[in-house]
């Protein structure tokens, strides 16, 4: 009996396997010739292959990097302001979203925002002053039943400067900051407003499973962290998006992303491997790039060994061939960075480009500093991470360039979470003399002092310059854009001269699109406006 039983079972299993293969064979043609095919609606379905885990879709909870904010949070929600992402020829500026206009009192702390009329949340309820107060309570007031420690901590990044808030009558709200804050309108683009009705229904604990905002796309379904499906918000105040559906799928492996696009599983991928760009182009994909406020750099420990001498740090900057990294290694998906200010920011001044590839000058500076035969040093490099491009190959290229002038670099690799975890505690993972990483320096202005300010809680290579601190503080306090631009330019020119970093490249945010994806306007920003995109002939 047992034998027959087992034989029957193995026959059943074999049949199941054969059946599975047969089913696969039958359905196989459905996947052919349909890269980016639209569905019944006129705008089609856009399926984006994202590079990392998708964020918690509860407003500012995020937690999985800026890509999640770009593709999920900023599609579901808006703040009182937003980035104007409709232009390709200059850095994106802040404009009104749920507020139409604002004024600031002479103290540069008290801001009054006039709210947009006639806006509704995706659940059909009206957006009004009470909704703004409700959301700010949820982020800032521990007594709110919708406040949680985790949400409060996450919201403190952009809402932490708000000291007081109140309704000011006739569709206006007044917000008071703790100190003079000239970039407050930009901070508010990240303070996202959710539907109070939906929040009351689900509570904060379950809101991530039913998120509702005023953004261009409304939530449909999700597989936590892996996939999220959104549908066009037909009531969107700027006009309904052209797309019918927007699906974001996390595909962390670069080769798998390329395969996903080439097989027609998705019709858009974020950050294709630079080595795949040529083959993707020849397969008919559109490669779209534009500069933004990104910098890939090494932070040098300016309090340790030879890096203490500014001439040595400048020498290293003259020694490296950034153009080769940008063009040969990254296949034009990045631009060489000759100074601290990324080229797609309002603080960038082409006249500030300083560090050309000049090994002779590098050797001369090293000799002047007392290192005619060079020296040995070390760098900790992440193996991956959002925006980090190809961290190890880039570092290896720099290692060769630096070795040419006598600087012998030992590369130590670690994972991205370890590197930033230690950096947040003010230390360097694996105890090296430098770390390699990337950042979006101006996303937003509020974050700039964390990277170059002397009071930063982060590890900044012990860099401190009172002039930089003074200029950053002056810029941050001024609501006048021209003043801020001037101060930031001078601050970053000082950083360029002090060379606490090895300035390497500015990313161009490459993405590959199927041939039938149209209407993308790629702005000079990390963020994206997907309302203009459509899929079809």
């Amino acid at each position: 009996m047992p034998i027959r039983h087992r034989l029957f079972r193995s026959t059943a299993l074999t049949s199941a396997a054969l059946l599975m293969t047969a089913v696969a064979g039958c359905g196989s043609h459905a996947g052919t010739g349909r890269a980016g095919g639209g569905t019944s609606g006129h705008g089609g379905t856009l399926v984006i292959g994202a590079t990392g885990k998708l964020p918690n879709p509860d407003t500012m909870m995020g937690g999985d990097g800026f890509e999640g904010k770009r593709l999920v949070a900023f599609q579901l929600y808006e703040g009182l302001t937003r980035y104007d992402l409709s232009k390709t020829d200059g850095p994106s500026r802040v404009t009104g979203a749920l507020a139409t206009s604002w004024t600031v009192a002479p103290d540069h702390r008290t801001w009054t925002f006039t709210l947009r009329k006639g806006v509704t949340f995706q659940d059909g309820t009206a957006f009004d002053t009470a909704a703004v107060i409700f959301n700010l309570d949820r982020y800032l007031n521990p007594k709110s039943p919708y406040y949680t420690t985790a949400l409060g901590a996450a919201a403190s990044e952009y809402a932490g400067d708000i000291a007081a808030y109140r309704a000011a009558g006739s569709g206006r709200v007044t917000l008071v900051t703790k100190a003079a804050n000239g970039h407050f309108p930009e901070d508010l683009a990240h303070v996202l407003i959710a539907s109070p009705t939906a929040l009351r229904k689900s509570g904060t604990a379950r809101f991530a499973t039913h998120p509702v905002g005023t953004g261009p796309f409304a939530f449909v379904s999700q597989t936590t962290g892996q996939r999220i499906e959104l549908a066009a918000n037909k009531r969107y105040w700027r006009g309904a998006p052209k797309l019918d559906r927007l699906v974001i799928e996390a595909i962390p492996d670069a080769a798998a992303r390329t395969a996903a696009l080439r097989s027609g599983r998705v019709n858009w991928i974020e950050y294709p491997n630079p080595d795949d760009i040529d083959s993707l182009k020849s397969a008919g994909a559109q490669i779209v790039t534009n500069s933004y406020d990104h910098l890939w750099y090494w932070i040098l420990d300016t309090a340790k060994g030879p890096w203490r001498d500014v001439r040595v740090r400048r020498a290293a900057n003259y020694a490296i061939d950034r153009k080769a990294v940008a063009e040969s290694l990254l296949h034009g998906t990045a631009d060489p960075a000759y100074q601290a200010a990324p080229r797609a920011t309002f603080a960038y001044d082409p006249k500030g480009d300083t560090y050309t590839h000049d090994p002779a000058k590098a050797r001369q500076l090293l000799a002047e500093a007392g290192y005619p035969n060079g020296f040995s040093t070390s760098v900790t490099v992440p193996t991956g991470g959002s925006g980090n491009l190809l961290p190890v190959p880039i570092t290896e290229a720099l290692q060769r360039d630096l070795a040419d002038v006598g600087i012998k670099v030992t590369i130590r690799t670690t994972d991205w979470s370890t590197l930033i975890g230690d950096e947040a505690k003010g230390t360097v993972a694996l105890g090296s003399d430098a770390i390699a990483q990337s950042t979006t320096l101006f996303q937003s202005e509020a974050l700039l002092p964390l990277f170059v300010g002397s009071g930063s809680p982060f590890w900044t290579g012990h860099y401190a310059n009172k002039n930089v601190d003074r200029l950053l503080a002056a810029a941050a306090a001024s609501p006048v854009l021209a003043t801020r631009q001037d101060d930031y330019r001078r601050a970053l020119a000082q950083v360029t001269a002090d060379a606490p970093w090895l300035f390497v490249v500015n990313d161009r945010n490459p993405r590959a699109l199927a041939p039938d994806v149209h209407g993308l306007v790629q702005p000079q920003s990390w963020f994206l406006d997907l309302t203009t995109v459509r899929v079809g002939k």
Binding site: L7, G31, A153, T224, R265, E423
Partner: protein, 316 residues
């Protein structure tokens, strides 16, 4: 039999305690912390401290472990740091997805392993047997990652017969047939190595029995080839069961790379992401589920072994 099972279940308790304690300590020692991974660079230091306190990160490790264990035995695995939802809610859908891909892969392992093993044992010197042997050797030694990429490149990108990843076609209506189409490549990629191993073990076991006195005796009595094969297969079954059980457990652990490469939203992928985000409660809960499954499979295999082979029952 009941005593056998009770004893095995009781022995599982210290194993689980050991595994969870070791994993808890290891995860806590990994550099990086959930607060830095969860919060953006601009979050205030005060908010960081408050969140760290809320997560209990300041308390001594044994206290944290005891607290976790106290809740875990009641079915409460804590709250995920990044999802801000109960760990069980995050784990359950992922576990279901992993079971689907593991079951499909295991079906291939058993069917393919038995087939290749039997052909190899029955026709050891014929071309069919040699081919079966070569296929099982190739299957064991093929680099899984490269083969998975090759499968995608050939069947998804070039031929477009099968999808490159995911569980459903985002452009289509979905459904079971769609799920099955998506299951083929990950199941084949995951099954490859265990299939080869199973085939080799079954082939050796069956060949041994076929050459034994038992087979000769059966043949001498004039029984048909099919009956001889049935009896011999019965005697080779314990080996198949042992290797099958081991391979099932191996599959459960080994699907991490398959899930990552094929974007299958299962437990392996969840654990990989959770580890990168230092989402300790999810890592701990996920490891507990895998450990329970691993130990559970072993107990089942032993029980099945005892059912087939009376000697195992009597010695236990």
């Amino acid at each position: 039999m009941r005593r056998f099972l009770t004893r095995r279940l009781l022995l599982a308790v210290p194993s689980l305690l050991g595994v969870t304690a070791v994993v808890y300590a290891t995860v806590a020692l990994v550099p990086g912390d959930p607060v830095s991974a969860f919060l953006g660079p601009g979050a205030s230091p005060g908010a960081r401290r408050e969140l760290a306190a809320r997560l209990g990160l300041g308390r001594p490790l044994p206290v944290r472990y005891a607290h976790w264990l106290g809740h875990a035995v009641r079915g409460d695995l804590g709250t995920s740091v990044s999802a801000q939802r109960p760990v069980t809610e995050v784990l359950w859908p992922a576990l279901q997805q992993t079971l689907v891909v593991t079951a499909a892969a295991f079906a291939l392992v058993v069917a393919g392993g038995v087939l290749l093993g039997a052909v190899g044992a029955l026709r050891p010197r014929g071309p069919a047997g040699r081919l079966a042997g070569a296929l099982s050797t190739l299957s064991v030694s093929a680099p899984q990652f490269s083969v998975a990429l090759l499968l995608i490149s050939v069947f998804a990108v070039r031929l477009r017969w099968l999808p490159a990843g995911g569980t459903h076609d985002a452009f289509g209506p979905g459904g079971t047939a769609d799920l099955l189409r998506h299951l083929v490549l990950p199941a084949v990629a995951a099954a490859l190595v265990p299939l080869g191993l199973t085939a080799r073990v079954f082939r050796t076991a069956l060949a041994g029995v076929l050459e034994s006195d038992l087979a000769d005796g059966l043949r001498a009595r004039g029984t048909t080839r099919a009956v001889v094969l049935c009896h011999c297969a019965h005697n080779a079954a314990p080996a198949l069961l042992t290797i099958g059980g081991l391979q099932l457990a191996y599959l459960l652990e080994g699907v991490v790379f398959v899930e990552t490469l094929f974007d299958w939203p299962g437990l392996g992928r969840l654990l990989y992401d959770a580890l990168a985000a230092r989402d300790f409660p999810v890592v701990q809960g996920g490891v507990l589920v895998v450990a329970v499954a691993f130990i559970g499979i072993n107990i089942l295999v032993d029980a099945a072994h005892a059912l087939i082979d009376p000697r195992v029952r009597s010695t236990s």
